[in-house]
């Protein structure tokens, strides 16, 4: 490199993040999560030993090995087939995630663009968020049909909507005043400012929200199922296996839901790393 450039905070050997492709992200994520996975497996083994030693009744807490066996035995067939149930629930959750996210981003864009809209919509949204929304599940079932996946998806969507809307609005509005003055000096239009400043500024906020609401969407779908719906769903499987005292199956269904949530979350993390690689570098995570 040419000498005498002055203070070299970063050498030219580490330019940008061109190397951050999917493979690298997966490998790094694997390294990052490996200790947690090991602790989790260790805890399962400990549980197994302790439950066995204390002779805990299986209807209180079934042993991990019994849960895994129940998962295997009820995977794709039988009265409590879990795999098709998980797929249905995941579909509902995904549908809700998409609907809630699209609506949340749309309202956020409107509130960021029109101050009047912000004045009207934000207090309403805050008020709406204070309502225990999950209480509406029976109503949604009533409105859209007990067996209609849409009634579950909408429950998920309502839960997803607020965090997405609130976070993206913050990202769009909380722009450094200096950035706006710079754009003003270029005589940039509001539309240009939105595209070149507000939206890029909001992307990290958006992904932060997305990481939270993936879980919300599963909660929404499963809880809505508790109040009735297709039997091929995790929520119904949990309710029915529990009332049949098949608690190993219940735990199996919960475990499956948890695993789905974790995969969901990891997908968002991966997409975030690909879309805004600089954000992770800024946080010092690479």
């Amino acid at each position: 490199m040419s000498g005498g450039v002055g203070t070299l905070a970063a050498g030219p050997g580490r330019p940008g993040f061109g190397a951050s492709r999917a493979g690298g992200v997966v490998r790094r994520s694997f390294g990052f999560y490996l200790p947690a996975v090991l602790v989790f497996v260790g805890a399962l083994v400990l549980f197994e030993v302790v439950l066995d030693a204390l002779n805990v009744k299986s209807f209180l807490i079934p042993k991990p090995s019994a849960i895994l066996a129940a998962l295997r035995d009820n995977w794709s067939s039988g009265r409590f087939a879990l795999q098709p149930a998980a797929i249905n629930t995941l579909q509902e959750a995904l549908m809700g995630l998409v609907i809630g996210t699209v609506a949340g981003v749309a309202v956020a864009l409107a509130t960021a663009r029109w101050t009047t809209a912000r004045g009207i919509l934000l207090p309403l949204a805050v008020a709406a968020n204070a309502v225990p929304i999950i209480a509406f599940a029976p109503l949604l079932n009533n409105w859209f049909g007990l067996l209609n996946p849409l009634s579950k998806a909408l429950m998920a969507a309502v839960l997803v909507f607020f965090p997405v809307m609130a976070n993206v609005t913050r990202g769009l509005v909380q722009v450094e005043p200096g950035s706006l003055e710079l754009m003003r000096s270029y005589a940039a239009s509001e539309w240009t400012i939105l595209r070149k400043v507000r939206i890029p500024n909001a992307l990290p906020y958006f992904f932060t929200a997305l990481k939270v609401v993936t879980t919300f969407s599963l909660i929404g779908a499963i809880v809505a199922e508790y109040f009735g719906g297709s039997n091929t769903s995790l929520g119904r499987r949990i309710v029915e296996s529990a009332s049949a005292f098949k608690f190993d199956v219940t735990w199996g269904a919960i475990l499956l839901g948890a695993a789905t949530g974790i995969v969901f979350y990891l997908v968002v993390v991966l997409v975030e790393r690909l879309v805004i690689p600089w954000a992770a570098a800024l946080r010092g995570e690479t």
Binding site: S2, L8, A9, A10, P15, G178, K196, N201, L203
Partner: protein, 288 residues
Amino acid sequence: MTASSPAPVVRIAGVDKTFGRGDRVVTKALEAIDLDIARGEFVSLIGPSGCGKSTLLRIVGDLTSPSTGTVQVNGKSAEQARRDRDYGMVFQAPVLFDWRTVEDNVKLPLEILGYDAARRTARAREMLELVELGDFLKHHPFQLSGGMQQRVAIARALAFEPAILLMDEPFGALDEMTRERMNGEVLRIWEQTGTTILFVTHSIPEAVFLSTRVVVMSARPGRITKIVNVDLPRPRTDDTREERRYFELVTEVREALRAGGGDLDDSGTIDGMDAASMERTIAEGAVG
């Protein structure tokens, strides 16, 4: 205007600026400012904190408007000049976008001005070579030091060849060594590009070293108390800072400042706020 005196790039006439709420005047920032800046000049505004020097620069750049008086840039109103993209602005903070690489930050104004892709790339690289950051095209701002970030901001401001460069304490946040080196850089760039520069600073040596003229302002309300012509030979180098004439001029500016009342401090702020945030605060109704 006669043929013998070419039209000034900037003509400030009878500018007052008061900050207030409704009819109530909270602060009188500027009073009766008249100043012409000719093409290719390097003019520094210097004064005690709260003298309104940043406000004056912001009025020239149409980031705020004068309460009375007019500003003309190339014979146009300041607003029209801004719409014509006559201004390159460099603030105390570099105001770079972390999501853009160094190169893409410099390209930002070129995108807004509608340059085609090839011309954007060529121009951005040329400017980054000029500020000696050609090896850092693909870095992101947060990977650079403060001095390097400010050089990116300068490259960005120069990229679209604005008629005038407005620099608002661009090196105020840098340490003395970096600052002196950046002064040398700015002079070199100014000599290479022949651009007109209006420069706000609270450093007397910086003002004298850089300028063709130093405009000395008094404490609030800001008035022009003296204009010091800097007749140091060019090119100015590190040796310039050790010449007798340099010290004489520094002394002249310092005495003019003292006569105008108020001392320089290190912050260059109004009650700890810069002009921009003070305006915002007043606009939001938190003051007064």
